[in-house]
């Protein structure tokens, strides 16, 4: 299971192990090959990029994830306003050269698939759906990662403080 931990104060922590990350990356690579998508991202619903595939050099993917997450969340609010019980499950933006297809992966994640207009949407939908099933089973695997506490120890805090001082001169 991808660990989505609720801490004492209710805040949420998502922890991905190296193995899960590798498997997720594999699923995305496969999806990229099958759909000839130019770029594929997986992000968590708060907008944090998890992994990416395809051409990501000339796209700022951190920004793309933040925008896509908000797009998703805004559409979910719209759904509520017009009386839809469920969130919309996918979004599609049609461009001149490229299309963007967004789809949720369970409750905590979503996929962004950027593809050429010459590729049919039907094909992208079919393979994305399959990829999502594979991703969900990766998430269900039982392996556990270490806690954040192991990383963010006292040492880490003080070194981070120093580095921030250095950067903020």
């Amino acid at each position: 299971m991808v660990q989505v931990k609720k801490l004492k104060d209710g805040s949420r922590q998502i922890i991905l192990t190296a193995k899960q990350f590798d498997e997720i990356t594999k699923v995305l690579s496969e999806l990229a090959a099958k759909t000839k998508a130019s770029t594929i991202l997986m992000a968590d619903i708060s907008g944090q990029l998890i992994t990416q595939r395809g051409n990501t050099d000339d796209i700022n993917t951190a920004i793309l994830s933040a925008l896509a997450a908000s797009d998703f969340a805004a559409t979910a609010e719209m759904a509520k306003l017009i009386g839809e019980d469920a969130k919309f499950k996918l979004l599609f933006h049609e461009g001149e050269k490229r299309n963007v297809y967004l789809s949720n992966v369970g409750d905590n994640f979503f996929l962004v698939v950027v593809f050429d207009v010459s590729v049919t949407l039907g094909l992208v939908r079919i393979y994305t759906k399959k990829a999502i099933q594979n991703l969900l089973s990766v998430f269900d695997s039982t392996e556990k990662g270490d806690d954040a506490g192991k990383i963010l120890d006292q040492d880490f805090s003080s070194m981070l403080g120093d580095m921030l001082d250095e950067s903020f001169k």
Binding site: D9, G10, L16, I63, E77, L164, S167, F168
Partner: protein, 194 residues
């Protein structure tokens, strides 16, 4: 917070919250203009023609590796104007820490209080509370003539006694101190939770 063990990355989300025109976007603009290009990505601003934030501003900061780990800070601002309430809620999703940017001007006190209550409401729907959540207050626009005294601002807004900073965001005064403090607060909080 999102931790990726394969890449040894830690992602933290920090949101600048506060009433309309208090200076949230100005904070990010200053940070972006001063930090080395290698540390920050682009600053994205989704705004109206009048430069008011319509959805959010976003920017990512990296400070390099620490003990092999790569912390990344995702900074967001919300739109302060009252009628963008649902956008504010959306941006708070998955937040790890909040900077509340208050406007020190006397006639903005009402707006500050209202927005702070709005923040508390939104945090509560996510199961958090201002009492335990990591947040700091920045009293901005200290350069203006009609500002409230620090004492009164503290009494009216800082009821949980969180770290506070006086700032003049257009000049950058107090901006980095505020950011450093919230980053620290978030990291301490994560330690305390475990």
């Amino acid at each position: 917070m999102f931790i990726n063990w394969a890449l040894q990355e830690i992602n933290l989300k920090i949101v600048y919250y506060g009433p309309g025109m208090s200076g949230k976007t100005t904070n990010l603009e200053y940070i972006h203009s001063k930090l080395d290009q290698s540390l920050t990505g682009e600053l994205v601003t989704l705004k109206t023609k009048e430069d008011r934030t319509i959805f959010f501003d976003f920017m990512q900061i990296e400070v390099g590796r620490i003990k092999g780990k790569k912390p990344k800070f995702n900074l967001y601002t919300v739109p302060g104007q009252v009628y963008y309430a649902s956008s504010r809620k959306i941006i708070l999703n998955g937040v790890d820490g909040v900077v509340f940017v208050a406007d020190s001007q006397k006639d903005r006190m009402e707006g500050n209080i209202e927005t702070l209550l709005d923040l508390e409401n939104n945090l509560m729907t996510m199961g958090y509370s201002l009492e335990t959540f990591p947040w700091v207050i920045q009293y901005n626009k200290r350069d203006l003539p009609n500002t409230e005294s620090l004492d009164i601002l503290q009494k009216k807004l800082n009821f949980f006694n969180v770290p506070h900073f006086e700032a003049v965001a257009i000049k950058g005064t107090g901006v980095f101190d505020t950011l450093k403090s919230i980053i620290n607060g978030v990291v301490q909080h994560v330690q305390a939770q475990l």
